[in-house]
Amino acid sequence: MKPLSIAVALFGLVALIQPVKDMNAAAAVLGVVTLIAALTTYRSVAISSFLKIFVGIFSVETIIFGLAVVAVRAGLWPQYFAEEQPPESLPLTVAIFSILVYAVSRLRTVEQIMRIADRYFDAGEMASARIWPFRAYQSLERRTAAAMIVFLVVINQAEVAITVRLSFFNRAWFDAIQQRNETVFWEQLLLCSHPTPSFTWE
């Protein structure tokens, strides 16, 4: 947890460089929130092992998504992936999640729940685990458990990301239907992406 919190803090400082230079308060929010997340991550050494897994996930994601956003700001994002450009709100959200997990861990009810939950996530026995198609291997039960939690959280997030992405497909597709644009219709359905037209409400 300590090395991770230092990494989060370093990233928070990086995220602050540009906004401070530009005197841009809105852009500075990410850096400030990240620094708070660094603090709560540091304090998380003492919290439940089960919740620590979640703090870990969100703090790591803050750094990864945050670096991507900083890259976009600096104009370093590859043109090829322009469509998959991460929104500014992404690292901000996961940083807030990380802080929230820490906050929740202080609740009495949650502490009682974790008293039982941590039994398994502190389990020190060696046990066999197997990831198909690889061979079975021996590992500490708590490592296997934590790995499964991380996997489940990340895959759930990825599923949401895909649903969001598909909703943009949905928009382009129905636009094509409205405009009787057969080419775009099939393109959207099968393979290539197509930039979505911008619009205004005025």
Binding site: I155, L166, T200
Partner: protein
Amino acid sequence: MFTPYAFVYVGMTVIELFVQQMLVLRWRTWLTDHFVSRWLNTHNHYRISLVSGQTDNPDQRISEVIFRFINGGNDGSNQTFGLYDFSILLISTITTLVSFSIVLWTLSESFTFPGTNVAVPGFLFWVALIYAAAGTLVTHLIGRPLIRLYFQRQHMEADYRFSLARLREYTEQVALLDGETAEKNLLGGRFAALIANYLDVIYCRMRVWAFTQFFGQISPIIPFVFTAPFYFARKIELGTMTQTAQAFGQVASALTFFVNYYTYLAGFKSVVDRLNSFDVAIDEARALASAGPARIATSAAAGGNVIALDNVDLSLPDGRHIVGARHVELRGGESVALTGASGSGKSTLFRAISGIWPYGSGRIREPGDSKVMVLPPKPYIPIGTLRAAVTYPAVPGTYRDEDIRSALADAHLGSLAGELDREEVWSQRLSSGEQQRLAIARALLLRPGWLLLDESTSAVEEKLEAELYAMLKQRLPETTIISIGHRSTLAALHRRHLEMAPEGDRFALRDAAPAQAAE
């Protein structure tokens, strides 16, 4: 873009389902194992029954509550909430809510009411939020009685099942008393309560159903109604409308999840409380593991083959003293009959000697190199084969079949010798006298150095009792027998006679008057 993403998405959900089930499986296996060993280790399960009356049904806590803790006991057929749902599903839902809220916000960032200059940034987001919140609130209010009703139903089902199970257990007694009519009335009453509850559930669910159906019909239209003016004014395209509708739906269902979440939290709290109180009770029982009289194992060479009680003072769980033994030495090879009024602490003394009684003080010296076996009045007979019942607690296979058969024959159970592999509920099939003889067969197999018989032949007639004692003396010549009993004939079967002599409001262990022993 659709096709590749859709394939990836489906693949991901399949893998997710698998990993989720594996996690639940491993977690449940581990936690069940954890609780079972904590419960059984160092006789904790026995002391829990002494320590606290609060820990009802440890069986249910282990078999059901653990599963409910992890994922609500969800077998896929019903929506329930466990820690899995309270953590990972919560994260997934919040992520959905945030993402689609952002989508809705971005779609209507520069929203202005048609024909005016009134700007409402994030208009669609606000509409979705208010609409879904109102909908879930109404559903929640209509459906609120359901939580109580479901809770009552669990109770009533359990009551009904319990009445039936009890009837099965006491069927002979009920038949002897002609109690069938009373039982019918009782069962009928319990079942009627169950049905009344069921009807309440049905009426309540119908109201909820009517509203959710209505809401479900309206919901898909709402976002279109709000975006229609802009569409017809050619400000937005059809795609924007459909995307709005989709995001709207996602935000609404996420909010519904939170209402459920909140509702189930109360039930989950009781699950956690049940596990926690069980856990605390185990800790209390474990803390008592080293309580009670100190037991000191001495080797035969050092202290001789004796069980010596020095200043032993035993009390009840509530602290009342029941029996004391200043200095009593039970010598190897000298059989002892122990008599005394019921409640004078005879069985408790046996419990203290075998080290499971946590209340009391003093010192008990025991031969470290020979086994002490206690046979209680009602022996425990596991469900399974007769072989397992006779060899318990040794694993089947420890003894040769011919040894088991001859042990049964010596215990006057020769007629059962052919049924070693038969699986049956032997505690129901055998009479209490036969069960006691089965326990004696166990002693013949185990050949303990000391055999403590706590009214172990009380259900056997006196002639057979004498035969059994003669047989034990002959078959187990190295074994010292200490017996508790109420029959006057018992003392004659032993060399020495100890009694629990009343001493104020308690009892003292001492040699019985010679006149009595001679009787």
